[in-house]
Amino acid sequence: GGIITQTPKFLIGQEGQKLTLKCQQNFNHDTMYWYRQDSGKGLRLIYYSITENDLQKGDLSEGYDASREKKSSFSLTVTSAQKNEMAVFLCASRSGTGGAETLYFGSGTRLTVL
């Protein structure tokens, strides 16, 4: 089995601050994802990556940057945190392209912007 580790678990930032969230997986999966979940709502795709150094925009990429430094890690940067923003950021991964595999999730990073 494998695991997806997201750090930090909780992130408190100031308005306008640049914040970075990290995700590591040891499944040896090719594809990784960043989703945002607002309270009581579904998941919206921010960025995904099908291999090392690849980046694909999701539906919510504006205001974010991402980086796939190596196969096992995928980081997300909030370029300028918005005041009173609260959301959970979920990292996920799965094997291969073509969508034939189950998606596995990390436990999330909870962001609060003061």
Partner: protein, 110 residues
């Protein structure tokens, strides 16, 4: 509009009853996955389907193989630990991205 529509948005049941959750897709989808999110926010995969049905204990899921425009998740003999928010996520052809529904909040009461 949303590509993935889940219903109902919320459901409250007593232990021992059966329920059915549904996802409709506005376009033909290649595959669907069902997840349960617990109170701590952890998302666990329940099923991945490219066609047909799958069953695991009291849970059973089906994906309309002909039109590929809807999927269902049936929960039999509901237990307290089934409480949580259930999400479906679907994928259209040629894409590596899944689109999530808004979820069904399921509450099981004694």
């Amino acid at each position: 509009g949303d590509q993935v529509e889940q219903s109902p948005s919320a459901l409250s049941l007593h232990e021992g009853t059966d329920s059915a959750l549904r996802c409709n897709f506005t376009t033909t989808m290649r595959s669907v996955q069902w997840f349960r999110q617990n109170s701590r926010g952890s998302l666990i995969s329940l099923f991945y389907l490219a066609s047909g049905t799958k069953e695991n204990g009291r849970l059973k899921s089906a994906f309309d193989s002909k039109e590929r425009r809807y999927s269902t998740l049936h929960i039999r003999d509901a237990q307290l630990e089934d409480s949580g928010t259930y999400f479906c996520a679907a994928e259209s052809g040629g894409a590596d991205r899944l689109t999530f529904g808004k979820g069904t909040q399921l509450i099981i009461q004694p």
